[in-house]
């Protein structure tokens, strides 16, 4: 087998490839991310950034306490984030657990939200500690229930013990299950990978194995989508595009709670991967609370005074 003509999928070819990737200097990467965080996005560009960010939100609920009612409410919000303002775009997707996929899909279709995909977290999310059979079945269930996107987790234990072939094979197998029916996002749980070198290696493993998106975190582990982690992943997709002409998306998830954080992410995209990535097709933000802050900031820009949470819906 050949993956982009770069590796054959064997442990040794993966090790060889990953070993020749340039290292990431922690201090340098963090300094670059910090510098980009000083970008000041005002007026028209801020308005554009808020709407773009809304369209990129993977509106998420991943609670043990999730119910059909909660998921339906979230779907309504996803389609029309601000019921009083139809110019607000729909979000990028709804992100739920496996068993909520059918409920979400049905409700979205019923309220005019056919264009909003349902993403399912999969492969024994968030820990990934299950047999391959279970992971495959988990994924298959979600797709059968109408998931258009699969957010799988990698086996961090395997990765940290250097079993890159194992990590790779799992992604390849899930990719096969997804086929043409679902987009595949691969979650690294960067807070557990710890180093930027690992984030870079995981990015290439996932991209070579067939990921459509690479995603930072489950949202269950901190730190999650820190700017330097996203920076390193954006560098990876940029360089992978140079190598293969295939554009892979990036999804930071976890810890992005307000408009300022979201705009920092968009600046990172703009100045690292480039403007081609500034679309929901290639950049998503996994979040729950973020959407309301984006809406409040949008109101402030329209009305000229600061908004109150009483005017945005809580779902």
């Amino acid at each position: 087998m050949s993956f982009y003509g770069i590796v054959d999928g064997s442990e040794s070819s993966l090790k060889r490839f990953l070993a020749q990737l340039p290292g990431v200097d922690q201090v340098g990467a963090e300094a670059r991310a910090a510098m980009l965080a000083t970008r000041s996005i005002k007026t028209t560009s801020k308005r554009w950034a808020i709407d773009t960010a809304i369209s990129m939100v993977d509106l998420t609920t991943l609670e043990g306490a999730d119910t059909a009612g909660k998921v339906r409410a979230l779907c309504s919000k996803a389609v029309r984030p601000d019921p009083s303002d139809t110019t607000v775009p729909s979000v990028g997707a709804i992100c739920v657990y496996n068993d909520m996929v059918a409920i979400a899909r049905t409700h979205l279709d019923a309220i005019g939200g056919k264009h909003v995909p349902v993403a399912a977290v999969s492969t024994a999310f968030p820990s990934g500690r299950a047999s391959m059979e279970v992971k495959i079945q988990d994924t298959q269930d979600a797709i059968d229930a109408g998931a258009g996107e699969i957010d799988m987790v990698i086996d961090r234990g395997a990765f940290l013990s250097g079993q890159y072939g194992l990590v790779f094979d799992e992604i390849v197998k899930i990719r096969e299950v997804c086929g043409e029916r679902a987009h595949l996002k691969v979650i690294f749980e960067t807070g557990e990978l710890v180093t930027y070198d690992n984030v870079r290696k995981a990015s290439y493993l996932a991209m070579l194995a067939g990921a459509d998106f690479i995603k930072t975190s489950t949202g269950k582990v901190a730190p999650a989508a820190t700017p330097p982690v996203v920076l390193v992943m954006l560098e990876a997709v940029r360089d992978f595009y140079q190598m293969t002409e295939r554009r892979i998306g990036v999804k930071p998830a976890g810890g992005i709670r307000n408009t300022k954080d979201a705009i920092k992410q968009l600046v990172l995209v703009n100045e690292t991967a480039g403007p081609e990535w500034l679309t929901p097709e290639f950049f998503r933000i996994g979040a729950s609370a973020l959407l309301n802050d984006l809406l409040m900031q949008r109101m402030k820009m329209d009305d000229g005074y600061y908004a109150s949470p009483n005017y945005v819906t809580i779902d």
């Binding site: 340039p22 290292g23 990431v24 200097d25 201090v27 340098g28 990467a29 300094a31 670059r32 000083t38 970008r39 000041s40 996005i41 005002k42 007026t43 028209t44 560009s45 801020k46 554009w48 950034a49 773009t52 390193v232 560098e235 968009l266 600046v267 703009n270 100045e271 403007p275 500034l278 679309t279």
Partner: protein, 477 residues
């Protein structure tokens, strides 16, 4: 659909520029006789009229400094001197934004740099040296080291207030008094600093500021009442000063030019290396004596790295220095722009290949696009002469020894950079490089605790840290 950043200008209402300034002598502003205009190099707008200091102004300033030295400053305990410096550090922090905006207006450098780098470092420099004032016995210069007396200090236009801090803070901490001349094109923050001295109630005459041009500086250098010269500027002027004081007992520290080599090995962390290269040569429009102006790349990665560099350079935002998103501001003066243009043309004429990203430069003001030259050899003028602008010369090497030979093949010896993920190679290279500051896997970092200064024709002495104090003290017994 692109993400255009709307203009985000820092407000200039925070600064109050007077139409005309005098000198600051003996604690008071005294009117000058002749004046010259200081302009905003980004717009050519005249900001103010600055006094052209002559011999009599320098005489008065030196007299004031001498009087302050004998009557007050040398009689003060180190502890009390230190408290004045702490006061100054705090006032600088309080008024940091005002200084940042004023510096950007007068110098042309981006507000992001004055706000995040220049002014914070200025305050840090005073804070650091404040603590030394009553601890000089522990500086390794023997018991009770003594100040020289009056220090004559001449500073450049590239980091106006930061260079003032590098000079004034150690001089005052060690018990010297000061006659300082800011650069002709960038006097305004020094004059605002005079106000800070007043707010701090610094005794009259401890800091005196005489504005002017080269002739004013020469009057300071040649003044018999000056005991110590501290100069930052060009190597040519540094040599002139060395000649001028040859027959005197004046001490001197000289912080002069450079042609810093930035060596990249094939195992470097490439993305951070690209950032380091950009920071090395485009920080402060390349108006940096320690700029990494010669990039020396291992051949195996040269093409890939240059491609990455070009992609990164296309993201450099050139424009209004007061815009918070500007990365590269204005060239400080027309004279400097002409010099950069002349050397870049020499690069073209000598067959190097010039590249700049597409960027629109304002018709008003002085601008030069970020530029790289590939195909440069050691024989090119652009590989030997200090351009002092946003122009990078790129050379290649095959073996580590060759990299070091090329890096050291210059009369300068101020700074160098080395990029590699291999620890032993980093240490080997830093050992081989003949430069006063070696940045390994980073570039253009500064700190008051970190000595700075050059080998060979890059100058005499160090500034910062314990080493910097030595320049302002005589050995104790």
């Amino acid at each position: 659909m692109t993400f255009e950043y709307a203009p985000a200008p820092e407000s200039r209402s925070i600064v109050d520029i007077k139409p005309k300034y005098g000198h600051f002598i003996d604690g008071k502003f005294v009117p000058g006789k002749k004046h010259f205009a200081t302009i905003n190099p980004a717009t050519e707008e005249v900001l103010s009229q600055i006094s052209l200091g002559g011999q009599s102004d320098v005489d008065k300033a030196v007299q004031a400094a001498q009087k302050a030295y004998t009557k007050t400053w040398s009689k003060l305990s180190g502890k009390e001197r230190g408290k004045y410096l702490y006061r100054i550090a705090r006032i600088l922090q309080e008024r940091a934004r005002e200084f940042a905006v004023l510096e950007t207006l007068d110098n042309g450098k981006p507000i992001r740099e004055t706000r995040d780098i220049d002014i914070p470092l200025v305050a840090a420099h005073f804070f650091y040296h404040a603590g030394w004032a009553d601890k000089l016995d522990y500086a390794g210069l023997g018991k009770s080291p003594q100040p020289h007396g009056v220090a004559g200090q001449i500073i450049p236009w590239n980091f106006p207030l930061l260079m003032l801090a590098w000079k004034v803070a150690p001089a005052l901490a060690t018990g010297n008094t000061v006659v300082l001349k800011p650069a002709e094109t960038t006097s305004l923050t020094a004059l605002l600093f005079a106000q800070v001295c007043q707010q701090a109630e610094l005794p009259d005459g401890v800091v005196n500021i005489v504005t002017g041009d080269g002739s004013t500086g020469a009057a300071i250098v040649n003044h018999p009442g000056i005991h110590k010269i501290a100069f930052t500027g060009s190597t040519d002027v540094g040599k002139k000063i060395a000649r001028a004081i040859a027959g005197t007992s004046k001490k001197a520290t000289l912080e002069l030019g450079g042609k810093g080599a930035n060596i990249v090995f094939d195992d470097a962390p490439l993305d951070e290396t690209v950032e380091g290269i950009v920071n090395g040569i485009f920080f402060n429009q390349g108006h940096v004596c320690c700029a990494g102006s010669r990039l020396i790349l291992q051949e195996g990665i040269a093409d890939e790295l240059i491609e990455k560099l070009k992609v990164r350079m296309a993201k450099i935002r050139v424009g209004d220095p007061l815009d918070k998103n500007t990365d590269l501001g204005a060239i400080n003066s027309k004279e400097q722009l002409l010099k950069i243009q002349e050397l870049a043309s020499a690069g073209d004429a000598e067959g190097a290949q010039r590249w700049s990203p597409a960027c629109t430069l304002s018709a008003k003001g002085f601008w030069f696009a970020p530029t790289i030259f590939t195909g440069v050899t050691q024989a090119h003028r652009i590989a030997r002469e200090e351009i002092f602008g946003p122009v990078l010369s790129i050379l290649t090497f095959r073996t580590p020894q060759e990299a070091i030979e090329k890096a050291n093949n210059t009369p300068f010896g101020l700074s160098a950079g080395v990029w590699s993920e291999k620890g032993s190679r980093i240490l080997w290279a830093t050992q081989q490089l003949r430069a006063g500051v070696v940045w390994a896997n980073t570039f253009n970092k500064f700190d008051p605790t970190s000595p700075f200064g050059g080998y060979k024709e890059s100058g005499w002495g160090r500034e910062g840290g314990k080493h910097g104090l030595a320049a302002y003290l005589k050995e104790g017994k």
